[in-house]
């Protein structure tokens, strides 16, 4: 490791512009002649659109156009797609209703757009929007998943009878039933995984610019994956062929999954830009973010776990209802199936698992991947079950976990995943030591003497990251491959540009990706720049989500680097009159090993581009690219332990300590990893204690602003105690597993396990608000 190589906590290069206010986000971009869009959104959860009268609005100052859902359908812009096909247990394909970018006939959630006003300024567009008269005929609505599947419930889509999208199963039902029939003990638990609003700091935004002469579109958008956006907009939405559509995702202020998807607003902006012949900008406000950014989680689950007399797990049965909202968002179908049920084995040796997942439409905002996407739901369920089991079986929760840990790798679970490596005992040991687990009973007793309810809770999570082997996900119904591409350009003066299909929206790629180059070439990271987020610059990419950018994206860069280095060594060997095999790269120089003969990288680069004296037959230039497709998922895992006190008078939770022992494989930049873990833990704690996107029975959102939706703040969370145990991932040459989601996946179970330990119950839903905890204490 050099001072800026792999493993160094290098200060982030990108922070200079971010902390001095010089970031360039979509809303900072202004194009000549730009107009502004304001969407007219349904105030009803379910209604027929009987008519839209825009005559008064069109006469208002600065109004360029009012465009409606019927017009976008008439212009044959495609409906939104769901990119992962799921098959129900009866063999039928999932049942989906159509989702037009603006509703021509029926609105199915509060906030769904029915029309858009295009005007000279944003305020003029808002003024005119108030003059557009939309005639709605209200229909009965349903927001709750159980209510939606009852007979007689309001029906959302004729294509999906009973509001059921699919009824999907995984695992061996017969083997699981057989395991349960042998059980000495069965532990049962009902859990709800609360719906969350993602709330990236930067709201979504788009600018569409149509060039009529070239029949070419440019879209600036808040995307985690601009190439996927271009692919979907071209292939399915009939906007423009790929070579006539450039998608740019500049600085993007957070995504957490919510900016993976291609939303109606981008489609409408592109279409409207061509219609009005001018650039169209839309910047969402916070309320629109609450109403239209894809929500996360929202599962209702019953689970049972069978144990033998020695407290070994025999089997697991799970039945989950997943609320999809009113439409199937881009990757929504995969979240409660292949990203959830495939992780139900947790860190444990479970011989038989059977899970059934029923996907349900409701009159709520669509639900899709949100930090962790399915894996937090799985981890929360398993870790709540293990804690509940320990209490029921009267064994120490750490010991129950330890005695069921998988210790031999690779390990094939009964639910598709093959864990490649891990050391679950090591992370459990590290976390127990960090929190002084052995000393807890004494601390609890002392707290009790002081009138405090103290609890401790464990969470031993595992997740599948670095998504994913294209062949594997293809066989499971994915509509895309999940490889990554990279290009390394060494300029004639020896500076280096790395083009990547990964997208940085807070992850720090502009620093960490340079560290790989510094590590391999011994050049300072100031000589390296990262180019991303523009389909005209980077050939292709699958983007950033699922903790994949280091494990997959950086590995693609490594592959391209290896090709470039190989060519550069040939040039150096030729210049130094040495054998290529004797060339080593150190401190920015190509050296003949064991001698003082060397040639600096800029001279090698210059030789490549002058091409005056290259080895016979060699092409000029020093630029290589690579596509990398992983062979397996990666499996970050770890143990979180939370110790807290509950105030019985108010139900309020106060953290005493929170320790995290993670195994992420190799770390590129420990400081950035620490930041990722902090952010993830805060989101997990936010889910456990504060956050909940709530609808009333009529489908009206109750939490559409920060006055009602409780986002965690700095003083809501403890100072974290982090550590790492390391097993290098064998699936990629850098040994990386990924760290972006772990905190959000593992934290919530640790918190709820600790609160339920403190107050002596197994039944406590998230978020464990003071009111809910107080009522639970005093109901007991």
């Amino acid at each position: 490791m050099g001072v800026e190589g792999i493993g160094a906590s290098v200060v982030r290069k990108e922070d200079k512009r971010f902390i001095t206010g010089k970031g360039r986000y979509v809303d900072d971009i202004k194009l000549l002649g730009m107009t502004h869009a304001h969407f007219i959104r349904s105030p009803h959860a379910h209604a027929k659109v009987k008519g839209i009268d825009s005559s008064a609005a069109l006469k208002m100052p600065g109004v360029v156009a009012v465009l409606t859902g019927q017009q976008i359908v008439d212009d044959k812009v495609g409906n939104l797609i769901c990119g992962w096909a799921i098959t129900s247990k009866d063999g039928s394909p999932m049942k989906m209703g159509a989702w037009p970018a603006m509703a021509p006939e029926t609105v199915r959630f509060v906030g769904q757009a029915v029309a858009v006003v295009i005007a000279e300024t944003k305020n003029l567009a808002r003024d005119a929007a108030e003059a557009v008269v939309v005639n709605y005929e209200e229909l009965p609505a349903v927001a709750d998943v159980h209510a939606a599947i009852k007979s007689g419930a309001p029906q959302l889509h004729p294509e999906a009878p009973g509001n059921q999208v699919y009824d999907w199963v995984i695992g061996d039902e017969g083997a699981t039933d057989a395991a349960f029939s042998k059980a000495a003990n069965v532990v049962k638990l009902d859990v709800t995984n609360n719906r969350l609003a993602p709330n990236a700091m930067e709201p979504r935004a788009a600018i569409a610019d149509y060039d009529a002469a070239e029949e070419h579109f440019t879209l600036y958008t808040t995307s985690q994956n601009p190439h996927v956006a271009r692919l979907v907009l071209s292939a399915f939405y009939n906007i423009a062929p790929e070579h006539k559509l450039r998608v740019i995702a500049p600085d993007v202020g957070g995504g957490f999954g919510s900016k993976i998807f291609i939303y109606p607003e981008e489609m409408v902006a592109l279409w409207a830009s061509k219609k009005v012949g001018r650039p169209v900008k839309w910047t969402g406000d916070r309320t629109e973010a609450f109403l239209t950014d894809a929500h996360g989680r929202d599962h209702v689950t019953h689970a049972e776990m069978a144990f033998d007399a020695q407290n070994k797990i025999l089997g697991l049965k799970v039945k989950t209802y997943a609320n999809f909202g009113a439409y199937m968002s881009l990757f929504s179908s995969s979240v409660p199936t292949y990203l959830y049920a495939t992780l139900l084995s947790g860190q444990y040796n479970i011989p038989a698992i059977h899970a059934e997942v029923i996907g349900v439409y409701t009159n709520t905002t669509p639900v899709d991947a949100y930090r962790g996407a399915g894996r937090p739901e799985a981890s929360y369920l398993i870790e709540r079950l293990m804690e509940t089991a320990a209490r029921q079986l009267k064994v120490d929760p750490a010991q129950l976990r330890r005695s069921n840990f998988i210790t031999q790798f690779p390990h094939q679970t009964p639910v598709i995943m093959a864990y490649d490596i891990g050391d679950f005992n090591a992370s459990l040991d590290a976390a127990m030591k960090a929190i002084d687990y052995a000393g807890f009973p004494a601390r609890k007793a002392k707290a009790k003497a002081d009138g405090k309810l103290r609890g401790i809770g464990l969470s031993c999570y595992i997740e599948a990251c670095g998504i994913a082997p294209s062949k594997a996900v293809g066989s499971l119904g994915a509509g895309v491959g999940l490889w990554e591409s990279a290009e390394v350009r060494v300029n004639p003066v020896g500076t280096i540009e790395i083009l990547t299909g990964s997208h940085s929206h807070g992850q720090g790629h502009e620093t960490t990706f340079c560290q790989l180059v510094a590590e391999r070439l011994g050049v300072p990271i100031s000589q390296v720049s990262i180019v991303h987020g523009d389909t005209d610059k980077v050939q292709f990419g699958m983007g950033t989500y699922g903790s994949r950018s280091a494990a997959v994206g950086l590995t693609a860069i490594l592959k391209a680097m290896e090709k470039m280095e190989s060519k550069a060594k040939k040039i150096a060997a030729h210049a130094l009159e040495a054998s290529e095999a004797d060339i080593v790269i150190e401190n920015g120089e190509f050296k003949v090993t064991g001698t003082d003969k060397a040639i600096a990288l800029p001279m090698v680069a210059l030789a490549a581009y002058t091409a005056h004296n290259l080895p016979d037959g060699m092409e000029p230039g020093l630029k290589e690219s690579a596509f990398y497709d992983p062979t397996n998922f990666t499996f970050p895992a770890g143990t979180y332990i939370c110790e807290l006190e509950v105030d019985s008078g108010t139900g309020k939770t106060s953290f005493v300590n929170f320790v995290a022992a993670d195994d992420f494989g190799r770390l590129i930049n420990p400081m950035i990893v620490e930041g990722q873990v902090h952010g993830g833990l805060v989101q997990g704690i936010g889910q456990a204690l504060l956050e909940h996107a709530i609808y009333d029975a009529s489908g009206q959102p109750v939490t559409a602003s920060f006055m009602d939706y409780a986002m965690p703040r700095a003083d809501d969370v403890p100072s974290f105690n982090l550590s790492h145990t390391t097993t290098l991932c064998p699936g990629n040459p850098l040994g990386i597993k990924g760290c972006g989601e772990a905190g959000a996946i593992g934290a919530s179970a640790a918190v709820i396990n600790a609160i339920t330990d403190a107050i002596g119950t197994n039944n406590l839903e998230m978020p464990a608000t003071p009111d809910r905890v107080w009522r639970t204490i005093h109901a007991a």
Binding site: T650, L690, Y709, D771
Partner: protein, 266 residues
């Protein structure tokens, strides 16, 4: 935001005359309520008259047994003021748990009580301490000033200039923060006047806004200690209920916060 005309007044008199000229004028103090509401297009004043630069509305004075806080004083300046900390430390504490740093640097005591949000912190202090609200026209007792949800005794165009607090023998404020907004999910201010009267006010609890709590006052009058409230029962009837707290929970909080406020008051 709808179009509006902004005026920056340099005196109370000028502010009052500007207000009278507008067809639908609003005073702007710290802007912690008015500006968000305007941005959401829920208010469309023709004229906004900014009181923030009026010097006579700034500052704190301690004179004998009266602490006077001028209406335009921001929370941060109240929280850090030596006279406030000396005379009524419970007010300094209340201000320190009000909102968040951004709110405390903009919001004013006058703006808070003029708005009379049912979960605002300051109304509880005024009511429990028996404060007097001074306006450009008259003096109004806190009892008369607060008239229910977002309703006060203020007449159209009347400007709060200061709030005068009699310095109590003892006072304390404890609050359960609303997890999202940081208003009071329920907050209770307890005070014992120098003449021995006990006054207790709760905010965030009642559907009618800030309220006195006679049962707790009686218990504390008999015995000024947290345990004196143990036997008091607070009815959930008429209390606020929302996703962050049921009426029963708020009833419990009135009691628990009162006990803790007494403990803090000493």
């Amino acid at each position: 935001m709808y179009q509006t005309t902004y005026h920056r007044a340099s005196s109370v008199d000028e502010a009052a005359s500007l207000f009278a000229k507008g067809s639908e004028s609003k005073f702007l103090a710290g802007g912690q309520t008015l500006l968000p509401v305007m941005k959401q297009r829920l208010a469309s004043p023709s004229d906004v008259i900014d009181l923030g630069r009026i010097k006579e509305l700034q500052g704190v004075e301690l004179s004998g047994d009266t602490l006077t806080i001028k209406a335009g004083t921001i929370y941060y300046d109240i929280m850090t003021n030596a006279d406030v900390k000396k005379a009524i430390p419970a007010i300094a504490h209340l201000t320190s748990v009000l909102g968040d740093p951004a709110v405390r640097y903009r919001g004013t005591i006058g703006g808070s009580i003029a708005n009379n949000d049912p979960a605002a912190d300051f109304p509880a202090a005024l009511l429990a301490l028996g404060a007097t609200v001074k306006t450009n026209k008259r003096s109004i007792s806190a009892e008369d000033f607060f008239q229910g949800l977002f309703t006060t005794a203020l007449e159209d165009g009347e400007i709060i200039t200061a709030v005068s607090f009699p310095v109590p023998a003892k006072a304390g404020y404890e609050k359960m923060r609303h997890p999202a907004s940081r208003f009071a999910l329920t907050g209770v201010f307890v005070a014992q006047t120098k003449s021995g009267e006990v006054r207790v006010a709760a905010t965030g609890a009642s559907q009618s806004g800030v309220m006195r709590v006679p049962a707790i006052e009686a218990a504390l009058k008999a015995n000024w200690s947290p345990s004196a409230i143990d036997g008091v029962s607070i009815s959930a009837s008429g209390l606020l209920a929302d996703i962050h707290g049921t009426a029963e929970y708020r009833a419990n909080l009135v009691k628990v916060m009162a006990q803790r406020a007494v403990a803090a008051a000493g």
